[in-house]
């Protein structure tokens, strides 16, 4: 079994007066793709935001590469080598595509080989390179958000529902992109509602319900067990299949 890069144990998070996460436990092995699944409102986004320090957990531990990051500020967490693609993508619409990418690079700016790699992965970005990012389509914005996450070498990518609201054609492109990242042994924590995508990419899987992890295991096992899928993920996934 691979080393664990990220481990959450007993994480509780409150948002204002509301208790959202009730002791979340799961781990992301180094070099693998871990899927975080669950119905709408299960607490997946809140979990990712807690990892990034955008909410501060009220109890529990979040260990990344050997240190506890639960109480750290967001910029410090990001500087440890975690890239985050939020559910809302976080594209700066008033900036150009180039500037959006540049923000994620180190002080020296673009590294030519990384830029070439990213542009090869998502050719459309090159076409729109100097345009305002606000003018991109939803799928293009999502590609830009992912490109921004990989424009520098990161140890972990944390990605929240990248296929949400995208057309099937674009989803296919995204899955292809992720498959290349997976082939390069990038460590990814991916929240996804699209079970096809989860099945195609995931090594292991954790399923959330009402702020708790209710299932953990290998993706292959869950993919093989339709009764379990139905039980854990319910109709929203059944409709997609």
């Amino acid at each position: 079994m691979a080393d664990l890069l990220l481990t959450l144990s007993g994480v509780h998070t409150h948002i204002g007066p509301y208790h959202i996460l009730h002791g979340v436990d799961f781990a992301v092995p180094d070099g693998e793709v871990t899927m975080l699944l669950g119905r709408n409102g299960a607490g997946k986004t809140t979990t990712l935001r807690s990892i990034m320090g955008l909410w501060t957990p009220t109890a529990g531990q979040i260990r990344f590469a050997g240190q506890d990051i639960a109480a750290m500020a967001t910029p410090e967490i990001a500087r440890l080598g975690i890239a985050y693609v939020p559910e809302t993508m976080g594209i700066f619409t008033q900036l150009t595509v180039r500037e959006n990418l540049l923000l994620a690079t180190g002080p020296a700016g673009f590294k030519p080989h990384k830029l070439a790699e990213v542009l090869a992965l998502f050719p459309v970005i090159e076409l729109k390179f100097n345009q305002q990012a606000g003018g991109l389509s939803g799928g293009q914005k999502q590609m830009l958000a992912i490109a921004r996450a990989i424009i520098e070498d990161r140890r972990l990518l944390v990605i929240d529902e990248p296929t949400k609201g995208l057309a099937p054609g674009v989803i296919v492109q995204l899955i292809e992109g992720f498959q290349r990242l997976k082939a390069a042994r990038t460590t990814i924590l991916l929240v996804e509602q699209n079970f096809e995508m989860a099945r195609a990419l995931g090594d292991s899987v954790a399923v959330m319900e009402d702020g708790c992890i209710v299932h953990r295991g290998a993706m292959a096992d869950l993919a093989a067990d339709t009764a379990l899928q139905e039980h854990l993920l319910g109709l929203s996934l059944g409709a997609l299949q």
């Binding site: 967001t74 900036l95 540049l102 002080p107």
Partner: protein, 322 residues
Amino acid sequence: MKPVAPYLLLPVIMLLAFPLMSGPSWIALTVAGLAMGMMLFLMASGLALVFGLMDVLNFAHGGFITLGAYIAVSVLAPLTGWVNAGSWELNLMARAAAMLAAAIVSGAAGLAFEAIVIRRVYGAHLQQVLITVGGLIVADQLIVAIWGTQPLPLQKPAVLRGSFQLGGAAIETYRMAAVVLGLLVYAGMHFILNRTRIGLVVRAGVENREMVEALGYRITRLFVGVFVAGSALAGLGGAMWAQYQETVTPAIGAEMMILVFIVVIIGGLGSIGGCFTGALLVGLTANYIGFLAPKLALGSNIALMVLILLWRPRGLFPVGGR
């Protein structure tokens, strides 16, 4: 993406005023309006950026304007010889010393104010307004305790006192100098915002603070820097305005703040381009109407603001999703 109509407002206002007065008056008033607009821009830019970046509206911003004005008075008082000398080098040095001192002291005051007052009220609008209003009262009173309530005279440097002819109009030299300096500062800000990494981060932060932090930038530190720079610019603007008026009263900041608020509301809080356009609009309107119907000057600016809000509720150049 960018709307064009808001940019057209400036030439439209200038053209509207043209048939209402003689050519030379129009030229003189336009220069005066642009000069006032430039000084307003200096005072308003910090406020707009601080709001855009951290959602903090500092009602005590006017205190920095007043402070800058008084620092200029205090620095220029012992330099009267230089100010009155016919030599432009000495003039320039006195002036540079006054403005630099105004900017530095106001910036330092901004640093202290951020640490003592502002930092405690991030994210709480109501408390922010209340506590910065309280801070303004204290700052104003301290200024009065130091410099008194009597208006203090302040001289323009000798070489900038007269006027010169342009298209049949007499243009005050000082106004031209204010326009030039304002343009320089605007160009400098434009450069920093659009050509440097810090500027890129500021622009991104105005739109989405969380994402900038998730990219690893410590935005609170950046904010302190912007706050200090904004305070320094307000002090610089105050010093320039005081020299323009040739007198300083404790009310200078409060009076200008009314116009500064109108500027940032018109321009769209958080946008530097909007702030610039808004400042010029307010400066021009104040001068045209001040000439045509002196009693309506402030009223006309409020009317301008109301009209713009009816047309574009979020100001001419709104930024971000807030």
